[in-house]
Amino acid sequence: MKATTTTTSTEGPTLDEIAAEAHAFLAPRVPRRAPARLGEGPDDVMGVGLRRGDAELAEVETARAWQRDLFGAGLAWIDGPVEYGGRGLTEAHRNRVHAVLREYDVPNTACFMVGHDIVGPAILAHGTEEQRAAYLPGIWRGDIICCQLFSEPGAGSDLASLRTSARRADDGWVVNGQKVWSSYAHLAQLGELLARTGDPADRHRGITAFLVDMGAPGIDVRPLRQITGAEHFNEVFLDDVVVPDTQRIGEVDGGWPIALTTLTSERSLMGDEHNGLMNDPVRRLYALAESTGADTDPVVQELLAESWEREQIVRETARRSLDAPAEDQTGSVLKLMSTADMEFYIAVATRILGPRLAVDHGTWGTFAWSQLLLGAPAHRIAGGSDEIQKNIIAERVLGLPRDPRPPIPDRPTTTTTLRPQGPA
């Protein structure tokens, strides 16, 4: 977001001042997330994709009310431009506020993640003035939940092979096709769509990006039940969906750089301590070991030590990434670290819990780890699989030869890099 923040105040609050402001807002509203609170209340380890049906809708309503208050207090979009509802401060300010938020038991706002970290940044970077004004305040106030309409049954890691088409019509564009793995599409008001406007042989050069009203006629959202049992992502069928040309982002056939912005935003997402994927996993592991008495086992002590070590390292890497040039691909580094960390935490919980990881004995904070066990495989696929992240590092950081790609006929070989995309 750094590069696209147009209004940044130079005389704003210091980091300590913004932290104090956040504390002043939070303290009267929500309890502190203190160690003593482990053992009571919800024991969720995962931050996303836990509820379905009415429980999920209730969670979303709570999140919306909370987000409205946060927005009203000027604490929602710390590093966003003032003219679109942001606070106009720096990424460092944002991270500081998020660190403060982590100290409180605030409602789960994961349903806004796609809007805040993926679609919002794309609109800010590539949208028209009208699009920014129309959507950004709502996205940050919690009125608009967003989804991506990127992956297709035949276009996963190889996103540039997508086939959903957008054809010119009198009143704009007519979209036909099928999207899949669209997180939050069943709740979303706004979708960021990539559609084929050129020749499929042109691959990434024949793709255009649009903002789609998810309530438009012809859109059919079908939740997919996942291994967690939740319905967090969806199939989306688009059948003669009319999209006005004013909803186009960027140039016709110029959607690929916009997709790249979307994917680069993962840097913020994966590096952000407030990303909501996990709820304080290491502190919970320590508490778990203490409650079962496993904390006196030297093997468990070493596993706990490594858990804390991993958590600090990924945080420090995120901190360092703020000053890193884009070509360092810190987003890919952070994603690989985070997914490996998640698997490590599961291994530690497994060691401590044994059969209680598989069978719910009703003890607080035990069977909750099965959420992480069942949810973790998604994160090695989502947002670009581990293998894609490794290709990005190998090719763009280390300068190793690129993997073979299908040739693009009758055009010079492109120098634009393909960044395929898995589910969001």
Binding site: E302, L304, A305, W308, Q312, T317, D323, A394, P401, D403
Partner: protein
Amino acid sequence: MISAEELRALRDATRRLVRAWTPQSADDHEAAASAPPDRRTWAGMARRLGLQGVRVPEELGGTGLELEAELVVHEEMGGALHGGPFLPVVGQAVPALLTLAGDERARTMLAEIAAGTSVVVPADARWYEPDAALPVLSDGADGPTVSGVVPGVMAGAAADGWLVPADAGGRTALAWVPAGTAGAATEPMTTIDLTRGFATLRLQDAAAVVLARDGEAERARDAMETGAALALAAECVGIAAEALDLTVAYVKVREQFGQVIGAFQGVKHQLADLYVTLESARSALAFAARSVGESPPLRDAALAVARRRCGAAAFKIANEAIHLHGGIGFTWEHRVHLYYRRAKTNQVLLDTGGGQARTIAANVAALYAG
């Protein structure tokens, strides 16, 4: 605060100088090890770039820069596999002497170190052998003397004298024993690391100057240990980065099956994993360096993170570097094995017997207990 720009300039200048003045091959390192200590390089590093004085205050002839700058220099020393006494002098002795900065003798030693005219090396086995017995300090008729054996003194044979933590009747003292003192002798030790010498220091009723006692001596000793850990961890980052660079360069030119091996995904992904490993070591070091002023549980846990992660990362990368070089990597002529040797040596010095994991576990439990 030193700027990113200044740090980069310091790194580049150090890199150019240290690489030019460090032996490259195993044969050259072996030759250097049996030759007299290289005082021209030592003096040149001080004269050209003031490297020894990176932390020494300006009024004593140093540049008085922050820890971050010192660690950049250690990284470059590690990347070049420099084997002189830089680490024990700058990483250990200087921080210890800085805790005694009111002491005129300590100030003189710091000034001589900064000028490149003195090699002051600590003789303390605690940072890798926590239970090792200290030499004994006795007050004889002609003044204090020390007796005892200190193994594993880094660059011990190249020193102008040793800073020796000693046991003075159950209390700690920090003694200074100049080289050439009757009753003080070093013996070289056989090591896997061909690039750096270790010696056993034998002291038999050797006349000593007591620089500090009790709390003051303990503080100096703690500064030695912390300084050594940070410096070795920084070296590991440099070793890891250089071993990875060497390997990436190699897989871009080595051809098999009609293409460079770096085009195979099996190789690319392995190297990408190693890059993530390197970044994790960089983060661990940055975290520890940033935490030196924090509360003791956080500071100690953070340092232990760097001790574990940087050593492990350097060895992992050096090991894979040999593997990805294939047979040539297993030859005496190719220098990649020198990284493997240095990395393992640093790793075991940084974390002995899993002790650092225990340090983390205990301190984090204290942090969480609040």
